[in-house]
Symmetry: C2
Subunit: 291 residues, 2 copies
């Protein structure tokens, strides 16, 4: 079969995807976002996979520029925050999207339940520990948002505590933005039905048993409470400098393409340039030639 | 142009590459290893690149098995140690070889000159900090071997100090092997001429200026001393449980294929299996169906 022609890397229908998936300021109603949408992409699933492959070299090139800038005194970096219900595909985005880039320029952190020592230091401490260095693209698989999601739904802390956290998060993220971190917060939005299908797959496939946890069903029963907590987080922490993006995620191929495209557009906005040499090129050529 | 048929992923001429590139016990003479060799591979450069692409999915699959095992109580992990002269391609191996894998299962550490605080804690302290967790493939871009390489060549510590380190390294690595870490130590072997060509490229290409450092020429002048120090390290720390491998590295495509193939063979030797479920599958299906 002849390979289909991949669309041009920059082919996003309807303008920048960052603009199309950004959550508008104001009240958030997640039910208004279609989990099966393919916003900004007009092709088929196969074309979507080709499109993702096609932007790989471009994303990788921009990543290297950012990395080079970071090695040469630049302070700019990117933080991709991935949140979403179980099975929404945080790991899949990392594998298929972040996996297109040079792992040397990535710092991936997967946040589990905090340890007692971490809790004693305040919920943002371990987040700060995990921030990417200059020129690095940090990826958070879950994040400080868990502290206003599961903490709220499961009553892990009293309401006044989690209530205060929205503002603490806003201050923290404002500080990040001011210090050269471009924060890209993605909510991977799946439907309740799609989650059921994906959990069932994990029970049907022996290579996926390890991904299944009986606790997942308990969490699933709390779907409405989680949806409410997500809406509150997206509404209360949707700052112009660090906005939220909703990624329709029932279609895995679209989800991977969309997050990677957001990352590509973000890198282009940052527009890192190849560092100028801080040495005399001709003199160095002569020194090298003499060896 | 029709795409060439990729060779079978397991196509290594002459038996396992691990056996062909392993440094034999006893005295080491690096000049006896041809830096342009393509040991174990009979094809062309183009075929070599296709062969690397072809083993990608297989390496990735084995990596996921190891990762799954680590998430399910297993303690096994891999540590790939990359050493070699400047421009030998440690970064290239990570980009093109490790880059084939899921970044979630990788932990890459690039060691620079130790800070004063690190020095005070002993040369192995920061190395221990960077070890991969269960199921993870750790990659060291430079390593504890710098403490018997640059430290020896540049007289950063007195001879009795670096002399003692060979035995300290052997004990450390024996401890790693005993605790479930498979250590794969690769010396990326380039010729002095090839280094000159690669440094010159960095001075010719504005997208590579940032990789050039005038100090590289100073280091280059010490080539014979480094070669001697490498020989001593490969000879003194070549234990059957944690042997050294010499990777002919004048040809970048071969180097990337060879290191990735060593990694693949290593993962197959470890042979991690998909974890058995620790729950009752039918009961969980019923619980899920009821939601």
């Amino acid at each position: 079969m002849a390979k289909k022609k991949a669309p041009k890397p920059d082919d996003v229908a309807g303008g920048r995807l960052l603009d199309q998936l950004r959550v508008p300021q104001g009240p958030v109603d997640l039910s208004a976002w279609d989990t099966r949408a393919t916003t900004g992409f007009t092709g088929s699933k196969d074309e979507g996979k080709l499109a993702l492959d096609a932007i790989g070299p471009e994303v990788s090139d921009w990543q290297e520029r950012l990395f080079a800038e970071g090695r040469s005194g630049g302070e700019r970096r990117v933080l991709l925050v991935l949140q979403g219900m179980d099975t929404s595909g945080k790991g899949g985005v990392i594998r298929h999207g972040a996996g297109l880039m040079d792992p040397q320029g990535l710092k991936i952190t997967s946040f589990k339940a905090p340890t007692p020592a971490e809790k004693r230091r305040g919920f943002l401490w371990r987040i700060r520990q995990a921030l990417p260095g200059p020129g690095i693209i940090g990826v958070f698989d879950r994040s400080h948002y868990e502290d206003v999601l599961i903490a709220r739904v499961r009553n892990l802390v009293a309401p006044p505590v989690w209530n205060r956290r929205y503002e603490q998060i806003n201050e923290f993220e404002a500080e990040l933005a001011a210090s050269g971190v471009t924060v890209v917060k993605c909510f991977l939005h799946i439907s309740e039905d799609e989650q059921k299908v994906r959990l069932a797959e994990r029970l049907d496939n022996p290579t996926k048993y390890w991904k299944y946890n009986p606790g997942d069903v308990e969490e699933r029963k709390l779907w409405p409470a989680y949806a409410e907590a997500y809406q509150a987080a997206l509404e209360n922490c949707n700052n112009p400098a660090t906005p939220w993006y909703v990624i329709p995620s029932d279609r895995k191929w679209y989800r991977n393409w969309a997050v990677t495209t957001l990352l590509l557009e973000t890198l282009k906005d940052i527009n890192p340039e190849w560092p100028k040499p801080d040495f005399d090129i001709e003199a160095e050529k002569a020194r090298l030639a003499a060896t």
